[in-house]
């Protein structure tokens, strides 16, 4: 199975203290550290596991500059067979549709059986996977938390739907799936693993190579105009009583709000 996994470099909310910049249009980026988007990491692990079972190849693709190469390498250290970097100053400021167009162009250069994306990104809108599938005219399933082979041309997939319920579907290949966290346990990648793949060349494609021009800030039809931290709401409800009473009240509240059954 030839699998393409789309990954994104994001400021990891667990390793940063995120605050909004003075102009309100972005977050402060001076002190940020970046990593691979967590959902994408699950997608890569899933692709590697599929290839370990069935054979094939995993290619990891990312849009960005040389800094994005760092996360492509991390995923290669995990076990992806090759990387691909889509780099061009003309790509900067693309909206979701622009990114989907770039990925479509990249995906059309090789015959893939399956494309995986993360269900969403730390700093994203959860939109690229669906648009990518539409542009390719492939079937799409989102929030996938289980993938099994049904037959040569079909995958059986599980999807997480609201309330923790599970839905099972069959989907024809080739297809695009967006992957939910928890589908697997991604393997650990340390400094040593990254050093091992440091000398492998990661091919870079620009706008000319991809033959895509209607992307970037000028072509974007969605533009971010503001960023702000919501104001704190009125005081939270404080529960009172003994530990046992508190526990009972919490359980009642969780039941009332539908969090537990």
């Amino acid at each position: 199975m030839e699998i393409l996994v789309c990954v994104k470099r994001v400021p990891d909310s667990a390793e940063n203290e995120i605050s909004v910049a003075a102009d309100g249009k972005d977050i402060k980026r001076d002190d940020l550290v970046y990593s691979v988007n967590e959902w994408d990491n699950y997608a890569v692990e899933e692709a590697i596991q599929i290839v370990e079972r069935e054979g094939g190849n995993v290619t990891v693709v990312s849009i960005g500059d040389s800094e994005a190469e760092e996360i492509v390498r991390r995923e290669m250290a995990m076990g992806a067979n090759q990387g691909l970097l889509l780099t061009d100053s003309a790509f900067e400021g693309s909206d979701g549709l622009g990114n989907a167009k770039l990925l479509t162009a990249a995906a059309s250069r090789t015959k893939y059986d399956l494309i995986l994306t993360g269900a969403q990104a730390d700093d994203g809108a959860g939109q690229v996977g669906g648009m990518l599938a539409a542009l390719l005219d492939w079937p799409y399933a989102s929030l996938v938390n289980r993938i099994e082979r049904k037959d040569d041309a079909t995958l059986r997939i599980g999807r997480e739907i609201e309330g923790g319920n599970q839905e099972v579907s069959d989907i024809d290949t080739p297809c695009v799936l967006s992957i939910q966290t928890g589908i697997n346990e991604p393997r650990y990648v340390g400094i040593r693993g990254i050093r091992k793949v440091a000398s492998i060349e990661v091919p870079v494609l620009d706008g000319a190579a991809l033959a895509v021009s209607d992307v970037g800030a000028a072509a974007a039809k969605v533009r971010r105009i503001d960023y702000f931290v919501p104001e704190l709401g009125a005081g939270a409800e404080m529960l009172e009583g003994s530990n046992e009473e508190l526990a009972d009240k919490v359980v009642d509240l969780l039941k009332a709000k539908g969090a537990i059954k």
């Binding site: 667990a14 002190d31 550290v33 393997r187 650990y188 340390g190 040593r192 050093r195």
Partner: protein, 627 residues
């Protein structure tokens, strides 16, 4: 005729024994290197103390005393046994051992027989919980020892050929049975003690003699041959006494780890892969490198469960080591990417930000923002460097330890600096969790910052930092824990009574006590406080201290367990009659404070760090004292 018969028994017995030993030695020759011939005087000293004087045996009094009787009985009877074996072949042979030896060996024989009877009754009817299985084997061996004693006794008085034959056959059966199970220790313990590890706080390098880790195709122990020869000798030497597991905090709270089982499983694996007899044609020869150890012999959860507290190694009467094996197995898992999700985030944050929470580097010295503390990042220098480490730098509660340490150092007239944003996590537990490459990276950054600080000595308040800087880093200035600084400066500090009637107890942090042998300095510091009422947690203090639950990355690990270690510890303190647990480690403090809540003792029991206690019980030397 009988002489020929006994000669044949001798040849068959010694031949079989030599064959088995040769088979047992083979895996040691193919194992990983482990240089253990350094510091021979210290090693001889350990043999005299632990092996000959059976130093650790009486820690379990009844079993220990009985073992000592059997051990010395064997030593006393060795000459007589040699004499007897040859006597059957050369009828007039004598070692001329003399009258006093005759008396000695008779007393020894009777004593051993009596001990064996008590041991057998105990094994069969009053078995302590730490003995798991192997009862038939134990009783069989006790039976053989008893038979040897009785037959020698009878033969010496009657010259009975039957008694002699029984003694001779039992002797060689016993000899050949030893290397088949837990009684191998009778032969190996001498060597195991001689080669035991000399520096408790240390962790072995990934591979001895290799500094460029990138050149290694694989890191850590993944298959049996990756263990060092000493670690395989450990497996052979385990006497199955269960003292390690009896003291293991992970075992006590029912995590899936029992140090004894690590040894027994290792030995069973080794024996199963050595064929003592030629294999029948067609039978598949199991290769030692078939399959990984993790998932077959050991489980992932088992190996992650260890807090590296060192209680097992402190207890083992014959110097079996566990921490290095656990760390080596973890290195193998890390190399294969087998790291629990709960640990991956903190490891990634350590790599990027130098602390496990991903907090900003520039806030590392934020605890000192309202204090007059010199910072290396501002170009300030001093002879002493206070290395704070991540937990004490960033955790809201533990920052109070940093502030108290700074105040106590000032009161003791110690001029000091703090590194600030360039300080990284010491990497102590990163290393013990098997991420050697990340540890090396953190170490290199810290070594550079420490050198740049121009400090001539280092003070820490976190025993994990103490152990890392003292035992893991090389070429550091001398490192002291704040409790040692306080104990040295009790005359400089002005102590005042605390306004309390509470009873205190001191909890020994593993990396201050067992791993760095600092038991008295913290007690000295506490006892300097006028009116201090301090009790010991008898049976679980000093080198038998019970781990709070572990520090560093262990804070993030989600173990399978029935109870928290900290809860057990808090209950021990309550049983000792204490109202306040004093400790000297930020991880102990956080675990114990949590455990007090879990144990439902909030309001009845409290925890405090030693340096906070001393800070509260000393006056500020720079201000005129009242009255």
């Amino acid at each position: 005729m009988t002489q020929l018969f006994f000669l044949l028994i001798l040849i068959a017995g010694l031949g079989t024994f030599t064959w088995i030993i040769a088979k047992r030695v083979q895996p040691l020759l193919h194992a990983a290197p482990d240089p253990r011939f350094n510091d021979v005087p210290r090693r001889v000293q350990l043999v005299l103390k632990l092996w000959l004087a059976q130093w650790r045996q009486p820690r379990y009094l009844l079993a220990g005393v009985l073992h000592i009787i059997v051990f010395f009985g064997f030593l006393a009877l060795a000459a007589r046994s040699t004499e007897l074996v040859i006597l059957g072949i050369l009828p007039n042979f004598s070692l001329h051992l003399g009258h006093w030896y005759e008396v000695t060996k008779d007393v020894a024989g009777i004593a051993v027989f009596a001990a064996v009877v008590i041991l057998a009754i105990r094994r069969a009817f009053f078995r302590p919980a730490r003995y798991v299985g192997h009862t038939t084997e134990a009783l069989l061996v006790l039976g053989m020892i008893g038979t040897l004693m009785v037959s020698e006794f009878v033969y010496s008085r009657t010259n009975s050929l039957i008694a002699y034959t029984i003694h001779d056959l039992t002797f060689f059966t016993f000899l050949c049975f030893l290397p088949m199970g837990k009684h191998f220790h009778v032969i190996t313990s001498l060597f195991n003690v001689f080669f035991m590890r000399l520096h408790p706080g240390n962790v072995k390098p990934v591979k001895y003699g290799v500094t460029d880790l990138d050149s290694l195709p694989s890191l850590g122990v993944k298959k049996f041959e990756d263990f060092t020869w000493k670690h395989i000798l450990d497996f052979y030497s385990c006497a199955d006494c269960g003292r390690c597991s009896d003291r293991c905090p992970a075992h006590r709270v029912k995590r899936p780890l029992s140090p004894r089982d690590i040894s027994i499983k290792g030995r069973e694996y080794a024996f199963a892969h050595q064929s003592l007899l030629p294999r029948p044609a067609g039978e598949k020869v199991p290769k030692a490198d078939e399959g990984a150890l993790i998932g077959s012999v050991f489980s992932e959860a088992e190996i992650w469960s260890c807090t590296t507290c060192g209680a097992c190694e402190e207890e083992c009467p014959i110097g079996i080591e566990y921490i290095d094996k656990i760390v080596d197995l973890r290195r193998g898992m890390v190399d294969d990417g087998l790291v629990p999700q709960s640990l991956q985030k903190p490891m990634s944050a350590l790599e990027k930000r130098g602390n496990p929470w991903g907090k900003l580097e520039k806030n590392r010295a934020a605890w000192a923002s309202k204090m007059d503390v010199k910072l290396v990042e501002k170009g300030e220098t001093a002879d002493t460097l206070y290395f704070v480490d991540s937990m004490t730098s960033y955790d809201d509660r533990m920052q109070k330890i940093a502030q108290a340490t700074a105040r106590v150092l000032s009161k003791a007239n110690v001029d000091f600096t703090v590194i600030g944003k360039e300080e990284k996590d010491s990497g102590h537990d990163v290393r013990r969790f098997g991420e050697e490459m990340l540890f090396q990276s953190l170490k290199e950054q810290n070594v550079e910052s420490i050198k740049a600080s121009e400090a001539k000595k280092i003070v820490v308040s976190d025993p994990h930092a103490l152990n890392a800087l003292r035992n893991d880093y090389a070429e550091m200035p001398p490192v002291q824990h704040i409790s040692e600084v306080i104990a040295e400066n009790v005359n400089t500090l002005t102590f005042k009574p605390l306004d309390t009637q509470k009873t205190y107890t001191y909890h020994d942090p593993c990396y201050l006590g067992r791993h760095n042998d600092t038991y008295d300095a913290p007690r000295t510091a506490i006892d300097c406080i006028p009116g201090m009422k301090r009790v010991e947690m008898q049976g679980s203090c000093r080198d038998r201290s019970f781990c709070c639950g572990g520090g560093g990355l262990m804070l993030f690990y989600e173990p399978e367990e029935e109870q928290r270690m900290g809860v057990v510890r808090v209950q021990q303190a309550a049983e000792a009659g204490a109202d306040v647990i004093v400790t000297a480690c930020p991880f102990c403090l956080t675990n114990i404070e949590d455990a007090i809540k879990v144990a439902g003792l909030e309001g009845k029991m409290e925890a405090i760090d030693l340096v906070e206690l001393v800070d509260a019980a000393t006056t500020d030397g720079r201000q005129p004292t009242a009255g």
